[in-house]
């Protein structure tokens, strides 16, 4: 039913003298989550950054809905959300302000949507505190709220459960499950298995060579 597909064909990436990605192939469609595993330095982050177009592969292509993403990068970006190692938050702003400016660049947000997302990640009590005063796990939750607010079909997540407590890790699983249920797709680099119940879990292991 969903025509969202993300495909990588023979992706090679060099970082200076290092050959980081050796011809990676993958394919994800709507309702699936591709879990990237592998030892440190195997290129999980590099693959995510290549997929979203921040890094240019030396060889190979990424296809979104059957079209090379390089053809219209801004249109592709408008449909993806990338969450890196560090939550992209301003220390001086409150969690709510951060979400307002971060997501507001992409789409109009209503106050109710903001409240809803904040509540969903359990951030009501500290949403109006400067991010500087929040713990690493709390910051991660704010970033997750931003992720859901973007309402885009493709999620690219780099270690989404870092710094989260057990409840938080289940929250990540729930959010991904819901996202897949809506026909979305996700690609997540992880060290610990994601806690998701969906049938759509696929695995890709990257190796050091």
């Amino acid at each position: 039913m969903s025509d969202f597909t993300l495909k990588g064909e023979n992706v090679h990436l060099w970082r200076g003298e290092r050959h980081v990605l050796h011809g990676v192939h993958f394919s994800v469609t709507g309702g699936q989550c591709l879990q990237l595993t592998g030892p440190n330095g195997a290129g999980k982050t590099s693959l995510l950054r290549t997929v979203c177009g921040l890094a240019y592969p030396e060889e190979g292509h990424i296809f979104w809905r059957g079209e090379d993403v390089r053809v219209d990068l801004p249109a592709f970006h408008a449909q993806l959300a990338y969450l890196g190692h560090e939550p992209p938050l301003k220390m001086e702003l409150t969690a709510r302000e951060n979400l307002h400016y971060w997501v507001g660049v992409r789409r109009r947000l209503t106050g109710r949507e903001l409240d809803g997302a904040i509540e969903r990640v359990g951030a009501e009590r500290w949403a109006d505190r400067p991010v500087r005063t929040l713990s690493a796990g709390q910051k991660r939750r704010v970033a997750l709220a931003g992720l859901t607010l973007m309402s885009v079909p493709l999620w690219l997540l780099d270690e989404p459960t870092t710094n989260l407590d057990a409840e938080g890790q289940r929250l990540v699983g729930r959010l991904i499950d819901e996202h897949l249920g809506q026909g979305g797709l996700a690609m997540a680099a992880v060290h610990h298995e994601l806690i998701i119940s969906s049938q759509g879990l696929r695995r890709l292991e990257l190796r050091l060579e």
């Binding site: 039913m1 969903s2 025509d3 969202f4 709507g30 979203c52 177009g53 921040l54 890094a55 240019y56 809905r65 801004p74 249109a75 592709f76 970006h77 408008a78 449909q79 993806l80 990338y82 890196g84 560090e86 939550p87 992209p88 938050l89 301003k90 220390m91 001086e92 702003l93 302000e97 400016y101 971060w102 507001g104 660049v105 992409r106 789409r107 109009r108 973007m150 309402s151 885009v152 079909p153 809506q182 026909g183 979305g184």
Partner: protein, 245 residues
């Protein structure tokens, strides 16, 4: 086409071009408000270049001579060299914070024009450093013995000149994002490019102080600013993309 397909998939995803996407101007305003709000939360970064400017211009009467006729002669050079150095001091903060916390990355991946976002950020930077400097320049002029009639000329030339300085600085700051302790490199990159601004700006100020028409150098300054507005955001966006890779 895209909207139609997303609709068919029966999802609530927002796709590009729907009514949920804010206009370019709405995004630019959002950026401006964000940067102004951020700046006022860490006011020390705001005050630093201004204090520096005040310091340099007050040192000259002490170091050279307290005699007003002589001070008046060197006033254009003093005001402009001080404005140039102060705006340089503020440049380091232009993109650095946003690069460190991953905000720039999110901008580049937002599907919105990175050029537009950086242009808005540069505008905010000028409002926070260039404009206050321009407002302070006439005061510095008075301290250096300049007559009241010349002050509009000083205000106008520094206002227009700092626009160009901010724009040149944006390219320099974007290029040096990946460099640790970029201060020295940044000044090496931007100072040579700022020389025309210094020349025409100081000339306009000098003519204004002498009571002569200063329209010609001021127009050239404005031409530089227009050129900067056209080219600088594009160059800065390209430089940021390279640094993100």
């Amino acid at each position: 086409m895209n909207n139609l397909m997303a609709g068919e998939a029966g999802t609530s995803f927002v796709s590009a071009g729907t009514s949920g996407t804010p206009s370019v101007f709405a995004v630019a305003r959002l950026m401006l408000v964000r940067d102004l709000r951020l700046a006022f939360r860490k006011a020390s970064q705001l005050v630093q270049p201004l204090a520096f400017f005040a310091l340099i211009t007050t040192l000259f009467p002490l170091a050279v001579t307290p005699e007003l006729t002589q001070l008046r002669r060197i006033a254009p050079g003093v005001v402009w060299a001080a404005a140039l150095l102060s705006s340089l001091l503020a440049l380091e903060f232009l993109f650095r914070d946003d690069a460190q916390d991953g905000t720039l990355e999110q901008f580049a991946l937002s599907g919105r024009s990175l050029t537009g976002l950086l242009a808005a950020k540069t505008a905010a930077h000028w409002l926070l450093t260039g404009l206050p400097l321009a407002l302070m320049a006439p005061l510095a002029g008075v301290a250096l013995g300049v007559q009241g009639a010349a002050l509009p000329g000083i205000l106008a030339s520094v206002t227009v000149g700092t626009v160009t300085l901010s724009l040149i600085g944006a390219v320099g700051a974007a290029l040096t994002l990946g460099v640790r302790r970029s201060g020295a490199l940044l000044s090496l990159l931007t100072l040579p490019l700022s020389i025309p601004v210094l020349i025409f700006g100081a000339r306009a100020t000098q003519l204004a102080i002498r009571g002569q028409p200063y329209g010609a150098p001021l127009t050239l300054l404005a031409a530089l600013a227009v050129f900067g507005i056209t080219v600088s955001p594009l160059a800065a966006a390209a430089a940021v993309r390279i640094n993100l890779e």
